[in-house]
Assembly symmetry: C2
Homo-oligomer: 527 residues x 2
């Protein structure tokens, strides 16, 4: 084989590329085009030997072999990342058509609700460790192997596909994300990141690029936490933040009874490799993801360079009043827990506005729950977020200072203007969950920044913005154990976790291009 790697000491043994019949569409079309353009392939006729035409699938695989033979005969032209100049580096381009075809191809497993006319205009319902998740995983493993990767599955089903580099005694640089979705999710959240990783591998193969160190793609298990109720649970175990036992024993949400361990075993993804950053170290983790928010779209940006993830804190607020009859209790004699909760929710929004933070209530329950009974008890969630820990801490202080006063009847921020003073109520606040701000690694952020600007060129400078991720991602846990950054691309109306989640093809490709370039730029700076 032409792909000779001098150092095989690293755990990733070189595996021969065996061109199988079951490859995904467009496997090497772009590669062939690029190779042809560069003169790597000497075509015997003007039509490229390989194209994306599905009818020629049979031909294609032979073509791979042909390509390799050509490569064998021209070892000089092998590209090393370290030796490439900026022009050469930037000329490595993802194939938008292939990327999107692959992505939609795998969305046959777990297809969700239809929202548009085109066959690809449906959502996804691919719950973690379900049969359809297994099908998508199997595709990932096979495709990665076909691309020459070693595939390792760990005890949480995290699947690491590694393409060996010139020097394999150091950990790989990873592109990672997740193939699982929400029950009413879309085709881009997570899935795009994995496919961009696979596309990266294909571009490297197509262009005979040899990286300094290995590069890989990781599919993290149960990122969404939709089926097993703990999001990012498998990257959390990898990082040592969540005990393996806790994650293994997570029971699927009602009405099922399966656990993560039982389902991992059932679908044959309970690997032997320990789930740990020591057993499977990473040199860096880059994640391409849809923004899941509206900022890029609103500001007409194309690429978000993610510097970190917001801090957030989840509180439960319980308001205690007295349930009384709506007809017989005059306004003065009420201790209306819902009216008070309404004031508190409005006030939390005002505090967020004043402090550049976010405050959101997504759950609210009341008792007793009858049209003609003034609720005596209301419990609601309060999700406070800000890019800095200090801002979140300040918001919590303000909430804890103001809420009891408002409940007691004090007029804060003119909330009581025009109201009838009622009886005093009480408030208790519990702290449920605390996620400090994550700050990504400067080297990774720089790699993404350079990659974005290289991709968009000098005219596209204004299309890049640095931003903070509002949501958690596997990159948060990854960043605890290795340099990490993320790349965001816009999604329509900022909608995510919804079947109609959508990112334009050119934006998907742009993001994948920045991911590819980020990984390569990181790789060539490694010592």
């Amino acid at each position: 084989m032409a792909w000779a790697f001098p150092n095989l000491g690293f755990r990733f043994a070189l595996q021969r590329i065996v061109a199988k019949r079951r490859v995904s569409p467009s496997l090497t079309a772009a590669g062939a085009r690029v190779a042809a353009r560069r003169g790597i392939l000497t075509c015997t006729n003007k039509r490229p030997l390989i194209c994306g035409d599905r009818q020629q699938q049979g031909l294609r695989n032979d073509a791979v072999v042909l390509q390799k033979k050509a490569f064998l005969g021209s070892q000089i032209r092998r590209l090393h990342t370290k030796e490439m100049n900026e022009e050469q580096l930037s000329s490595l381009k993802v194939d938008q058509k292939r990327l999107m075809e692959d992505l939609h191809y795998t969305c046959q497993w777990g297809t969700g609700e239809k929202w548009g006319e085109a066959p690809t205009e449906t959502g996804m319902a691919r719950l973690a460790l379900s049969d359809t998740d297994k099908q998508a995983r199997d595709w990932f493993v096979e495709t990665a192997k076909e691309l020459g990767c070693n595939v390792t599955v760990d005890a949480m089903g995290n699947t690491f596909a590694v393409r060996p580099g010139l020097n394999n005694d150091k950990p790989p640089t990873f592109a990672g994300s997740h193939l699982d979705t929400q029950p009413t999710g879309g085709r881009y959240d997570g899935i795009l990141g994995i496919h961009a990783g696979i596309e990266m591998l294909k571009v490297l193969n197509d262009n005979w690029v040899e990286t300094q160190f290995p590069v890989g793609v990781v599919n993290w298990t149960n990122e969404e936490g939709a089926r097993f109720p703990m999001s990012m649970s498998a990257s959390g175990v990898w990082a040592g933040s969540i005990p393996l036992e806790v994650a293994h024993n997570l029971r699927e949400v009602h009405p099922g009874t399966a656990t993560m361990a039982s389902e991992l075993s059932r679908i044959s993804y309970l690997g032997n490799t320990p789930c740990s950053y020591t057993a499977m170290p990473m040199a860096a983790h880059f994640e391409l993801h849809i923004e899941q928010g509206p900022l890029l779209e609103i500001t007409n940006k194309k690429i978000g360079v993610v510097k970190g993830v917001q801090a957030y804190k989840w509180l439960t607020v319980k308001v205690r009043g007295r349930d009384t009859h709506t007809g017989t209790t005059d306004l003065k004699s009420r201790a209306d827990a819902l009216l008070t909760a309404s004031k508190l929710i409005l006030h939390s929004h005002k505090l967020a506005t004043a402090n550049g933070a976010l405050a959101s209530t997504g759950i609210l329950n009341l008792k007793p729950g009858s049209t003609n009974t003034v609720p005596g008890e209301v419990t609601f969630s309060l999700d406070i977020r800000a890019s800095k820990d200090e801002t979140v801490a300040k918001m919590i202080d303000l909430v804890e200072r103001d809420f009891p006063k408002i409940a007691a009847g004090e007029d804060i921020g003119a909330l009581n203007e025009g109201c009838t003073p009622g009886l005093p109520l009480t408030v208790s606040i519990t702290h449920d969950f605390d996620s400090p701000a994550t700050y990504f690694h400067q080297r990774c952020i720089e790699a993404v920044n350079e990659a974005a600007h290289a991709t968009l060129g000098p005219d596209g400078k204004s299309l890049v913005m640095e931003m903070t991720s509002g949501a958690g991602h596997d990159s948060v846990y990854a960043s605890k154990r290795c340099p990490t950054s993320m790349i965001f691309v816009p999604c329509r109306d900022g909608v995510s976790h919804n079947p109609a989640e959508f990112t334009k093809e050119e934006d998907c490709a742009l993001g994948a291009q920045v991911l590819l370039q980020s990984v390569l730029r990181f790789d060539r700076q490694r010592e």
Copy 2:
């Protein structure tokens, strides 16, 4: 028998008083005292022949016979309501001890949650047509029969106990209420009204009072609507407002499967008499009830003269926004249905304050209901009440004018001060239920007013107040077909529909006294 009634043409045939062994405690103690005081009974020794002592129950029944014999021998002293002067009328007094002993005696059937140390300090859980409701009904029927009443059960299980008067060709004047309770109800709502009716009968018997026309006590079925979900359903059928079939087919609330008809039949209270104001006409309906609100207590009043029942209207408000991720959606890009609902609830309260009305939200549901998702849809109930129909109509107009504007982002009443303007939302409002104001009958209101002032005396003038009932009662339906009024007594902290519902013994007795006096005053004014 001394109780000779010249006219027996009316449907209520005179029934002989047969003193049975199974009388309730204290049946005739007060009567004996009063009779002794008036010289009706000639005692052979200084100790009254009859007393409330439970050990002497055997004696007591013989004593009733003895009393009657004495009465037989002194027909001159028979008291006719029309002929009584104010002093004689006011000297007819309920026996507080007997009233409360009877009330607590029947609360053995369906005893609920304990809230205090004393054995009587428990709530009630006597759902309509349950086994315990049957036991209480059986007690009611037997006691009424023992007191010389004819008992009629109609097709809704409404039970009419009628004590014949001097002239029985016209309908009786009724005291009415209900023996059923909420699942976590108290000992006074409804129950006090029935017991005050029974006590009225006892006082009339004890004092050999003959009313001009018959007087009775009615126990209405399923007033609470707690088990069969339509409150006041049986008085509604009687009034012709609810079709019998609808009420019969009411299915008990989850998880049961019984209907009102099946349960009426099971407990043997599916009567042959049609449930109708034509089959069982009433000259008037008086109802003693706990206020179920705090106004009497707060203003240090003892008796509420109820002039009518509030108008009310129930709306369902649906707010539609967009559910988005709490972390990734900045405040500007949100269409937060719960934040908007909070503003609407607060605004409805301000409108109520400005218009002397009540506005209450007792139910609120949101979607999708996750801590990190801004709710895209909120549905809440809105209960609007006022003593006048016009006020309710005005409130509805204001709600329908302002709610869509507030949802669209307009700043009404400075609700948006300090808020971040978000995306517009929409509101839809449906009208679910409409209960126009009920105005009670002037003659009945006057009877209650006179009775209250006669009971409390000139020094107690300030202890009486006219008021509007906030809650519905069987008297609302009764008032559609006969002159009606109600008497309210204070309940602790205005609490009702709660095990800890409590009215002082002296207040129960005061209310019962006003009920007795109201019925008698109404009776003697009838032609």
